[in-house]
Amino acid sequence: MKKTILYILLALAASACIYPYDADLDTEVPERLVVAGDILIGEQTQIDLGYVMPLGTNPYTERRTPPEASVVVENDLGQAFRGTKVRDGRYIVDTENAPENARYRLMVRLEDNREYITPWSGVNQEPEIRDITYQVNDSQMQLFCSLNGRDSLWNFSWEYDEVWEYHAYFIPDLLYDYQNGEYVVQRKFSDYYFCWNSRSSVEPCLATADGLSENSVVNNNFLNINRSDDRLNYYYSIQLKVRGLSSDARKYMEHMMSLSNGTGDLFTPTPSEMRGNITCVGNPEEQVVGFVSVCKRSFQRIFIHTENIYKCPEYPDGLLFYPQPDEDGNYNLDNLFNYSSPVFYELPEPNATNVRWGPKRCVDCRAWGGTKTRPEWWPNNDV
């Protein structure tokens, strides 16, 4: 709604613009604990603890976390699962074998003995992932999912992990030996041709079946990938990890996401902080950020051959070139080495004038950020 109005205003008033804006606020931030993560039954639970940082700080380098904390998941059967600190602020709790028929809560105790708890909660049963499908149009590959809810949980949240196999533009016939200053003929250059890369969703996806005739989400378009995106270069895989949410949890997550997504415009709700389900035992008035649910997740992965979907964003042949001599007629191939790699030789004896060179990304898939490590479950073996 907001974007629609905003776009139309911008379109109608040709003079309209959006400018970066720095409010230059000099405001002290209240010290507020952030507890992020759900209790995941049947797998490991990850709980992240942190503090709210001032807006002007670098969130990567100046991240604030409680130095030490005790993180415990306990159930009404009397079991307690203690968390292990794996890095600053991150605690892993092994709830893989935690029983499903119990009620759970999270307890966090900080170094200063402040204690925080969540209410007892039963396990949200995992939704069923009916299918994951895709459609391809001129510009995008669109991914859809259909989910069936369980019990009284009509709200869904999911993350996804993407893995894709891709290749460089060319399999080179030659490499340039920098040490010896000569071309080396290789016959197994596929080591530089196929790679794998991966990515996880940053924002959780939320959907609800509220108002529908059945507890299902059908053909929810959760991801669009441009056809020139590297992910579609050769072989693509995506795994959904879906959990069911209570209405309160979904409302909290939606609200939190909307606050970070352009809220505050004239036609969007005025931002306001919402209270989660974490309470400070000694001071119930203390505001804590976070909503901890108790969930069981379902998983599903699909693979897509995307070789024919991919639209290469550039013309690879146009990137190749013959090295040019300098003023003295010398070929300084060593200088090219760091940026480029030779591709072909056209004569039996390669020399500076008859070998075309290309940028590294043309021949070395690692230059695209991936690795040569093939996931063990990967169905394709092109190595």
């Binding site: 139309i8 700080t57 924002e203 997504n261 004239l266 036609f267």
Partner: protein, 1006 residues
């Protein structure tokens, strides 16, 4: 300090001067013919002179002579508009060392009207008159009576008379012509027959110079003895009145004095009544303001054109004011009850001085305060972003009226929210007054007649909202002939036609608007990011007025509007207003009236979510308000009282939400229960002006009640409307007012501006009515010959049960909406200073407002209480607000308009912290509305070219060339923050009009 004393002395002098009889004359509209010469005797400059007026001699008065109308003009100061002196009271004056005489008053009854310079060559006295006549005869452009545009080109004609042997002669072509006394006896004499005057026609005339001493002139034949002495009132009046026909008093020219009553009554006051007609058509004129000289005694003519005043015996002035007519001031001597019928002339198109003058001093006649009136002419001259006259944008130029953004719907009056304004269009309620989210208002200026905004002192006949009333009325069709107008703008076009269905009895007006923004959006290239969007609106107005007789009129009006917009085809929004009303006006007596009206209003909005690929989740969500209303208001004048009483009732049927799935959709049809309610009210009020004195009081009570059903809940409460005025001087008033209000319908919104998807909610067991009161006081001062109104108003308002929302509230399709809402109390206060210049080339106003608007949650919800239960800024709280609106007229046709707007930035809630939640960066926000966007500043300019003055021409084209935001300032429309997908925090500022926006608007009238 010294400067302050000087200013006070000047102001005191101005006030004193306002009481002088010399400056109580008619203010002369300042027609500027600078491109074609001028109409003054010698020079446009005013020079100090001596004038004998009404028996008193005034010295060092800035004087000049209008050689076209042969009238003497005086100014209280050089910066004010001139005042026309009554010729029949002005026997002589002296200017720049020259004496001028009115020969008519000197006993030469058949001399030309006007003034004659007295010259002498030492022996002979000459009477010299300079006449400036039109170079071309006035065109008969406006009907048989020939009142139309007067060509400003002048030719000069000199008339010189001399006096000899009790006769007056003139010289033309070498012939003496005896012209006075008695034109019948005029005889041509050869120069040779009067040798003593030979020098007058010789090639070498003797030096003729001004006569230097009154005594010398007075000794000359032709003037009565003692002519230049201060005359007694009785002698000059007697001579003057003798020349006036008393058979039937029809004042068709302002420069006469009329005697009302033949026999001197023993005691006053007595009734003076009459009928006001149009001079051209003879039609009676309703709605004409009639006042006495003090402007404390006044009435408006009824639909039958009748007026009646109770006035004291003696000298007085009757002033007749109507927007479309030239001002009429008639000097009267009241001896007894009598009748004085008056005809008024049509104001020439493009001359706004008559309208302005009608508005002048209006504040001193009203007991109520906080009323702002704007007519369509003013609206069309205020520059807007796309050149189309806009009622709401004009309202926003008034002090105390603000909005949250320059392209936002709705407005805020004195710290009230947008839903606390009752917006009436021909009596029907408009729930969404904007098109395209606020870029345009919902009202077509082609059919709008008048706009009244009540900021405080809301009359008893209005109710239902606690902040203000914006009452917009459409005009009636022309009773004589078919007329129309066509307007072309950058984004919109509008067309209106009006005329008689039955001549002089039944008229119609039909207007429509549409936009081609849809078409424009389609022209955008596919890679623009905006292609595929739709945004359009249309509206249609229709009105039929039938006049049964002079006392009874029936008016039918209808209004329909729709907005439709979508972006990239995934979601479509629509909203629509439908209003239909019928109103019967009955007038009896002089000031008694009965208005009965009934109507139906419908406001609906719809969201269609049919995103491609999501047909299973496609649905329509719609809300609708329907209301039927009826009102009956009677006004009865009894001596010094005007009693207003009546009642109204509104029947609401509100559908808060209906979800309808598309075919194949999994959505379940769902409809929230319809809310119904009846809101009947009765009211009575009395406007009391004791003995036409300086005090007047307005007291009223309105009992409003509310019954919701089917879940029955009743609310009822009296509302007080109190006002008082004290006018120690005719041009100075002090007022105070207090009123309480109730509101039973609420806008449920969590956005800063009215959004198309906002819904309304009726009060019920969980939602209490909004209540509020306002106490206000003000001082109003009109100075510089009614040319400048100065007002200072202060107010304090409180409101209760205004709805705000809880964090994360779900406002749509919520069965338990009340649980997501919180009640707040509001507090606002401020002062508004306004200077309004009404006459002269430069007209307009400048206003400064300092105000605050604060809210506080009424309940304690612990840590979740908004801002910890403390007062917080309302979204429309802008403490400093400066507005300047003006129009400078170069000529009849060309003028420039300007509009300057400065205000403090509105409050916003901004992030103050960041944190990681999961993999994403999130934002923590400040307390609600704790910060502000940058201050707002904008200057607009426009050049207005009015139609040609040949009113007989079939079409008249006017054009406006303007520039919105001349300085190109990038004003913040809104500020928002995003984490760009949870990665990095970035703030953005949207500026809708981030640079100069030129525009051209063409209007064709036919």
């Amino acid at each position: 300090m010294r400067r302050l004393v000087t200013v006070l002395l000047v102001l005191y002098g101005t006030v004193c001067a306002a009481q002088s009889p010399l400056f109580r004359g008619r203010v002369m509209p300042e027609y500027d013919f600078s491109f074609n010469g001028h109409y003054f005797w010698a020079t446009p400059e005013f020079s100090p002179g001596t004038v004998c007026y009404d028996g008193t001699v005034y010295y060092d008065v800035p004087l000049n002579i209008n050689a076209h109308t042969q009238e003497v003009l005086v100014k209280r100061s050089l910066v004010e508009s001139p005042i026309v002196l009554e010729p029949s009271l002005l026997p002589w004056f002296q200017l720049r060392g020259v004496y001028y005489v009115n020969l008519n008053l000197a006993g030469v009854s058949d001399a030309p009207k006007g003034y004659f310079e007295i010259l002498t060559d030492g022996n002979q006295t000459y009477y010299y008159q300079r006449q400036k006549l039109f170079a071309r005869e006035p065109g008969n452009h406006n009907g048989v009576r020939g009142i139309g545009y007067e060509d400003p080109d002048y030719r000069e004609e000199i008339i010189t008379y001399f006096h000899l042997k009790n006769c007056y002669y003139t010289v033309r072509k070498g012939m003496f012509k005896r012209v006075f006394p008695g034109k019948r006896k005029r005889a041509a004499l050869h120069a040779e027959s009067l040798p003593e005057l030979a020098h007058v026609v010789t090639d070498a005339p003797r030096e003729i110079r001004p006569s230097d001493r009154p005594a010398h002139i007075a000794a000359l034949p032709g003037l009565p003895a003692g002519w230049f002495a201060a005359q007694t009132e009785s002698s000059s009046r007697a001579a003057m009145l003798a020349a006036i026909e008393q058979d039937k008093l029809i004042a068709n020219y302002r420069n006469k004095t009329y005697e009302i009553g033949t026999v001197q009554a023993s005691a006053g006051p007595v009734k003076v009544s009459g009928v006001v007609r149009d001079v051209a058509s003879g039609e009676v004129l309703g709605g004409v303001l009639v006042t006495d000289a003090s402007e404390r005694v006044f009435c408006y003519t009824g639909t039958d054109g009748k007026y009646e005043l109770k006035l004291p015996l003696g000298d007085n002035m009757l002033k007749f004011r109507e927007y479309t007519k030239e001002d009429m001031d008639i000097r009267v001597i009241i001896k007894d009850s009598g009748v004085l019928d008056v005809v008024m002339r049509e104001k020439v198109t493009a001359l706004k001085s008559a309208y302005v003058s009608a508005n002048s001093m209006a504040e001193h006649r009203r007991t109520g305060m906080g009323l702002e009136t704007i007519n369509s002419s003013t609206v069309t001259h205020i520059p807007t972003a796309f050149g189309e006259g806009d009622v709401l944008k004009a309202v926003l130029t008034l002090p105390g009226v603000k909005s949250v953004g320059e392209a936002s719907s709705g407005f805020n009056v004195r710290g009230g929210s947008a839903d606390q304004n009752l917006i009436l269009f021909n009596g029907g309620t408009i729930y969404n007054p904007s098109h395209l989210f606020g870029i345009f208002s919902a009202f077509n200026m082609d059919v709008v007649d008048e706009v009244e905004l009540y900021k405080s002192s809301i009359p008893v006949e209005y109710g239902g909202r606690i902040s203000s009333v914006l009452d917009i009325s459409s005009k009636d069709g022309d009773p004589e002939r078919i007329k129309g107008s066509l307007g072309l703008g950058i984004l919109t076009s509008h067309l209106a036609i009006e005329g008689p269905l039955v001549k002089n009895q039944t008229t119609f007006v039909l207007g429509g608007r549409t936009t081609y923004s849809d078409w424009l959006l389609k022209q955008l290239p596919a890679n623009s990011g905006y292609a595929g969007g739709k945004a359009s609106f249309s509206d249609v107005n229709v009105g039929i007025t039938h006049r049964f007789d002079a006392r009874n009129t029936l008016k039918l009006t209808g209004y329909w509007s729709r907005d439709n917009f979508s972006f990239r085809g995934d979601t479509t929004f629509r909203y629509s207003n439908i209003d239909a009303a019928v109103k019967w006006k009955h007038r009896w007596g002089i000031s008694n009236s009965l208005d009965v009206s009934a109507g139906y209003d419908n406001y609906s909005n719809t969201l269609e979510d049919g995103a491609p690929g999501n047909s299973l989740g496609a649905y329509t969500l719609s809300t609708r308000i329907q209301q039927g209303f009826t009102r009956a208001t009677a006004k009865v004048a009894l001596d010094n009282h005007t009693i207003t009483f009546g009642g109204d009732a509104v029947l609401y049927a509100l559908d808060p939400g209906t979800v309808s799935p598309f075919r194949g959709s999994l959505f379940v049809p769902r409809k929230l229960d319809r809310e119904m309610a009846l809101e009947p009210s009765v009211y009575v009020g009395d406007l009391w002006q004791p003995d036409n004195g300086p005090f007047s009081f307005d007291a009223g009570v309105r009992y409003s009640s509310f019954l919701s059903f089917p879940k029955v809940k009743y609310y009822g409460a009296p509302e007080l409307r109190l006002g008082a005025k004290y006018s120690p001087l005719a041009n100075l008033s002090v007022k105070a007012g207090f009123n309480t209000m109730n509101q039973y319908i609420h806008l449920v919104s969590n956005t800063s501006s009215i959004s198309p998807m906002d819904t309304w909610k009726l009060s019920d067991a969980d939602i209490k009515p909004q209540q509020g009161f306002q106490a206000a006081g003000g001082v109003y001062w009109t100075v510089f010959g009614n040319a400048l109104d100065i007002s200072l108003e202060g107010y304090y308002k409180r409101s209760y049960n205004y709805l705000d929302y809880k964090s994360g509230a779900v406002l749509s399709m919520n069965d338990h909406l009340a649980e997501d809402l919180v009640r707040t109390t509001g507090r606002s206060y401020g002062v508004e200073l306004m200077l309004r210049k009404l006459t002269g080339r430069l007209t307009g106003w400048v206003s400064y407002t300092w105000s605050r608007a604060l809210l506080k949650e009424m309940e304690d919800r612990g840590a979740e209480t908004i801002n910890g239960g403390e007062w917080y800024n309302a979204p429309f709280d802008k403490p400093h607000d400066l507005k300047l609106v003006g129009n400078y007229k170069f000529t009849h046709r060309y003028s420039i308009s300007f509009n300057l707007d400065y205000s403090t930035g509105r409050p916003v809630t901004v992030p103050v912290g960041q944190y990681y939640y999961g993999n994403a960066l999130r934002l923590l926000y400040s307390e609600r509305n704790a910060h502000r966007i940058p201050d707002y500043f904008r200057l607009d300019l426009a050049l207005n070219i009015e139609p040609g003055h040949y009113l007989k021409a079939f079409t008249h084209m006017s054009a406006t060339i303007g520039c919105y935001n001349v300085t190109g300032r990038k004003n913040a429309y809104s500020v928002f923050y995003t984490t760009n997908g949870g990665r990095i925090v970035q703030g953005y500022m949207v500026s809708v009009f981030a640079t100069q926006v030129p525009y051209l608007s063409l209007n064709l009238k036919f």
